[in-house]
């Protein structure tokens, strides 16, 4: 399979997300009532909000809210997946039983309930997506570990390792190159990429729900705008009787969500075996 196309797409999407996050302004631009709710053709590149401020600032600030926490959550899940696969290769029954116990407990909890409990306990002056993203990663870890363990099992588990040892391979080459690099890579990278996407969706959901009740978000400071603000701004355009011309904000929000989804799929495909 040709991995070049998904690799390029994934790289481009990730670069766009990180680039937007790094150039995100600290505050939104000046209020320009004369430019309120202009479309992308009137005000480049994405149009304006109800106060005439560029939606680019919203997009960039939203990217800065999600980019690093989502990436870190993806890395955490990938690490858990690798650990799950390697432990299956080690073949310790006690360790596998402990992992199964951990998976049963964590996997049985509705994720959003745990996230809300963590959000509840976060001090208001320390609101950030990081703790929620890492919690999500821990909740997603059992699935990643299970799948990686299944791959390792199909590979032969401890017998595969013994066979390679018999060929004289070093432990680092067996575990890092053959087990992780050649066999676990597609699974753990895909799981990590999916978690990245889910964390972004989680942030938007939490911020939107808070916005809907005129409350501050759990995931970022009040001075920042999230992509949920774009959804909130664009939503009235779905109801024609409101005569609210903010469809460009809705399209931008959906486009950004699509970008994240495409990035996740592309990362997963680029990691597949040839």
């Amino acid at each position: 399979m040709n991995r070049r196309v998904p690799l390029v797409v994934a790289g481009a999407c990730f670069a766009a997300l990180l680039g937007a996050a790094f150039v995100a302004p600290e505050h939104l631009g000046n209020i320009r009532p004369d430019l309120a709710l202009k479309g992308p053709l009137d005000v480049f590149p994405f149009g304006t909000d109800t106060r005439g401020r560029s939606l680019w600032d919203y997009a960039a600030q939203g990217a800065s809210v999600v980019a690093i926490p989502a990436f870190s959550a993806g890395i955490i899940v990938a690490i858990f997946g690798i650990v799950g696969g390697l432990l299956r290769c080690v073949g310790s029954e006690r360790v596998n039983a402990m992992i199964q116990w951990f998976s049963e407990i964590v996997g049985a909890l509705p994720r959003m309930v745990v996230i809300l409990v963590v959000a509840l306990l976060l001090p208001r002056d320390q609101r950030s997506l990081f703790p929620l993203a890492w919690t999500w990663a821990i909740l997603a870890a059992p699935g990643a570990m299970d799948e990686a363990a299944s791959v390792a099992e199909r590979l032969g588990g401890s017998r595969f390792v013994e066979a390679l040892r018999a060929h004289g391979y070093s432990a680092s080459r067996i575990f890092l190159v053959h087990v992780v690099g050649f066999n676990l890579r597609p699974v753990v990278v895909r799981q990590g990429a999916e978690t990245m996407m889910h964390v972004v969706f989680l942030e938007i959901a939490l911020s939107y729900l808070a916005l809907a009740e005129n409350q501050p978000s759990f995931t970022h400071a009040d001075s920042l705008k999230s992509w949920a603000d774009l959804l909130k701004l664009g939503y009235p355009s779905l109801i024609p009787s409101l005569d609210y011309h903010s469809g460009h904000a809705l399209l931008l929000a959906l486009g950004l969500l699509g970008l994240v989804a495409v990035m996740s799929i592309a990362i997963g495909r680029s990691a597949r075996a040839r």
Partner: protein, 297 residues
């Protein structure tokens, strides 16, 4: 094991967190500049005797269905009353959504979902619950307008909410494609080929063997639906348990959140027990069948 522990773990973890955060728990739950005499509040909320006293006291009360009063969301109202109002709505929502995903699983297994629809299903499965719920909310506003909180409007909210839950975040896609893959893998076994040669239906042979896996998948999907119910209920303004939990979280109402989160954990525990019972029944069935087969010597 997990089923027994879950209803205790959730309140224990919340209690542990309350005491692990800097500052005294009473002032954390209600800052002194808002509540004034936090010592009196601590005594009233049983927070003055340490985490163990609070946890054991709360658990003892919970076993008699005494969850205390709401601290902030609906101040003074018994949490049990709030739960009683919310539970039937959420149960209806989750039940209908479960029917949606079960329909997906059955249709895929019976071959009623053509494979050329797979890309469409995969695309739909990527859409987050929030986006579909917003589309559903707009559809309700357009259809019912000011009457969207009438009885028919509420019913429409519930049905659209269930449809959103059943489809969003890959629920329908996962159920359809996951179950089909499970059956297809099993169909490649030798015993299925032999059964087909004997003129039997593959499903009758594979079902007892794949049932534990399908039951486990279904339980995981129902838990996924419970998780998504929070978003759907808030966006579509359905007065269910998810909406209650969200309101409690937003207003830092520990009384409501403790009870609602424990209830979610208890539902999850019950699902685990049901899964174990069904798996046992399937195992007994497999041990019993096939009847009337004799190996000729």
């Amino acid at each position: 094991m997990a089923a027994c522990l879950l209803p205790f773990i959730v309140p224990a973890v919340i209690t542990g967190f309350i005491w692990s955060l800097p500052g005294d728990p009473a002032s954390l739950i209600c800052p002194p500049n808002i509540c004034g005499g936090t010592a009196a509040l601590a005594e009233r909320w049983n927070l003055d005797g340490g985490p163990m006293q609070f946890f054991l006291g709360w658990m003892a009360d919970a076993t008699t269905l005494e969850f205390g009063n709401s601290w902030r969301l609906h101040q003074g109202l018994p949490v049990l009353e709030l739960l009683k109002e919310a539970i039937p709505t959420t149960v209806s929502l989750i039940s209908v959504a479960t029917l949606v995903i079960m329909a997906g699983a059955v249709m895929a297994t019976r071959g009623w979902l053509p494979r050329r629809l797979d890309p469409v299903l995969r695309f739909v499965g990527l859409v987050p619950a929030l986006v579909l719920a917003l589309a559903g909310a707009a559809a309700i506003e357009l259809t019912f307008g000011f009457g969207s909180f009438s009885e028919s409007g509420k019913l429409a909210r519930l049905l659209i909410g269930a449809a959103v839950l059943g489809v969003a975040d890959g629920a329908f896609t996962g159920a359809a494609l996951g179950t089909r893959t499970t059956f297809e893998t099993e169909n490649q076994s030798r015993y299925v080929g032999i059964a087909v040669l004997r003129g039997e239906q593959p499903l009758a042979n594979t079902w007892p063997n794949v049932a534990p896996s399908v039951i486990g998948q279904m339980r995981a999907r129902i838990i996924h639906l419970l998780s998504g119910a929070v978003v759907v209920e808030v966006v579509l303004r359905i007065d269910g348990l998810g909406d209650l939990l969200w309101g409690g979280t937003l207003r830092q109402d520990f009384g409501v959140v403790l009870a609602a989160a424990t209830l979610f954990a208890s539902v999850s525990a019950v699902l685990l027990v049901i899964q174990a019972v069904l798996e046992t029944l399937v195992a007994l069935h497999v041990r019993k069948a096939p009847s009337g087969v004799r190996v000729s010597g």
